[in-house]
Symmetry: C3
Subunit: 290 residues, 3 copies
């Protein structure tokens, strides 16, 4: 089950080509499981639609599929930009799948956390233009995905909220979630928002800079395409080097502490007090949805 992906995001080295052994038909079937990928070759824009009911939680399977799908797009010269959005009403992504963090083996925790890291390294370091079209709530890991894109457009609905709400579950956002957040909203807002585990309704998220603009739901895809066109008007090479220069420090911090970060996650998650918090939280979610 280890992710069959190179450790460093291709953004930082030479882009890898499609691995020769993987039959395309199989790849397609696999890719169509939890994430719908549509590539418009005329515009060079792909849309990755999260479709993992009920709430697009980031399970190990989801993350694996996400990374493979993104790598395929990176290796496809026809693709220059990706729009991330949800196929499930009212939710963009609910964040990390807590069942992956509860009552599992140390090996499982390590594998899961490596996949979370891989996802972030690939999105934050992606050579392609990444736009988040946030069409529902986006807590924790869902928010991280949006924060890691180049631009965030959110549906103008105060019922949808976004934020790194880890502290509300009694857990702590890792340093690279924090670094990504600080790069978006600055230190003061990040300090408060992270400590409070705040979920910001869309209008507040705009005011704080968590998202870049709000649009009515029916205009979201159109607006995402328009913004993407604006970014794709620039020469790829110069834009990519510029992006890599801006994000290198924060990416390198995780790359050089990756194994430590996994060990830290394992020892933290294995604590009985944390397991108890997570079980209570899942119980609460179950009652809510039941």
């Amino acid at each position: 089950g280890v992710l069959p992906l190179s450790r460093r995001p291709p953004a930082w080295g030479r882009a890898a080509r499609q691995p020769p052994g993987l039959p395309l038909a199989l790849a397609r079937a696999f890719s169509n499981n939890k994430i719908l990928v549509e590539l418009d070759e005329s515009s060079g824009v792909a849309t990755m639609k999260f479709k993992s009911p009920p709430v697009n939680s980031l399970s190990l399977d989801f993350l694996t599929e996400f990374c493979i799908s993104l790598e395929k797009l990176e290796n496809n010269r026809a693709c220059r930009g990706v729009i991330l959005t949800s196929a499930i009403p009212k939710i963009f992504s609910s964040g990390l799948d807590i069942t992956e963090m509860c009552g599992k083996s140390t090996e499982h925790y390590a594998e899961f956390w490596r996949a979370v890291q891989e996802m972030w390294l690939r999105v934050y370091g992606c050579n392609m233009v990444m736009i988040a079209a946030v069409n529902g709530s986006s807590p924790a890991g869902g928010c991280l995905i949006a924060l890691s894109c180049d631009y965030r457009i959110m549906v103008d609905n105060p019922k949808f909220s976004i934020g790194l709400n880890e502290t509300q579950l009694g857990i702590v956002a890792p340093f690279w979630f924090k670094d990504t957040f600080v790069n978006v909203v600055g230190q003061r807002i990040a300090e408060r928002s992270l400590q409070l585990g705040a979920l910001h309704p869309a209008p507040e998220a705009l005011k704080l800079g968590v998202v870049d603009e709000l649009v009515p739901e029916e205009k979201l895809q159109e607006r995402a395409a328009a913004v993407m066109a604006q970014w794709l008007a620039l020469p790829d090479h110069a834009r990519q080097i510029t992006k890599s220069m801006m994000r290198k420090t924060v990416l390198d911090r995780l790359i050089s502490h990756r194994e430590e970060d996994i060990q830290h996650f394992i020892s933290f998650t294995s604590k009985e007090s944390i397991q108890k918090s997570l079980r209570m939280y899942m119980e609460m979610l179950r009652k809510k949805s039941g």
Copy 2:
């Protein structure tokens, strides 16, 4: 006269318990000298009211009492949050007591500066939720105390101002004052404000992000309590680790350069030109108040 306190703020290690040798009655008498401490055990919120006439200047005695009072609260499991405010009308704190920096011995300067460092390390690294209820003007070191809290509420009165105005006295805010300020308002605003030694009237302070909100004077304590309740709704442990992660870089910078910083303060303060500036400033204050 060396501060009988551990060098590193307890926030970063295991919390120390009440030292066994200190009789509580004495401690109380001492603590009630320049700072009124009231702990509401039902809410877990303490209020530290500065009451050192005429202007709550940060003398060596004040700083020593401040650190001991804060340490006691940290060691009291019933206390989870602290509101800092003033018992003196129109002034929160006037900042460092200039008489401690004028015409004294090298040893005195060292002791005084170590106490200033200790105060900042304890407030900025505090495990408890720290809220500044700024009910008066707050220049220089007074501003630093507010900046070091988790949240700043100021009375909505344009006659009250706040800022790091050191340059106006011909002196320079130390690097850790600067780091704290940059973490609150960002680099551009900090550059301008520090170079100009700006004292921002409350409405401007809000606009620049120096304080987080303004309220009418009669609502200040009520609002501080409400904000505190919001912060205390979070589990302490996750919030504390998050806070420590956010502030560690800046705290470590002083911790690892503490003696150098003391030597720097001594050599700067001992200069005749600086002594002259400070004497002129004190003379001006004397005429103003007389």
Copy 3:
């Protein structure tokens, strides 16, 4: 043709005095070539007016004259602040002179780039108060000059724009352009603006913090003088140390990588693809103006 200037800006060492060998008359004649320098000894304020038609592009000659003029002002005790502005209608500066980067020798590229570095080190590290009175468009290197000042006032005309638009030419702003920009507008805005190579019309530049205020064209010089007076009200020594403390990290990053940065510029600029981009851009400019 190597710049007869010390490598480190005087801001960071002892101020150099007027070199004894240079006859003042000659210096004056030279200085009056592309930049008009007027010093008002009563206020201590100099104005440097760029007058290098058609668009104040930063040629090697311009940069050399700029650095010599600025160094002379630094060595003149009567001068405490400098206002940078343009004597040419509608343009502040068009940025680096592309003819210096096209079809020239490696030695020429090295000399040119060293002069660009020198200009930035001198402005960003300048002990004097530097105010940009931006009375026209200010792309790329022109924007860098403004960003390197202490304060930016721009004419309130949406036809004038400012920004680091390098990516639009297929090139990449160096890391120290980026560092300077991030220090002014923060990471999120810099990421977007740099990747898009955005030229912000004056009102947008104000909103994003690229400039500090807008004024009607006829009020620009008056307002610049008023702001300068406010900055000069502070004691030089304390203000200078404060400025140096704020900017040291970013200045040191270039100082310690200066030769690498030159080599990087040479190898990037020498690429045939980049040469082609630049020739196309020059062609476009020629058609536009013809």
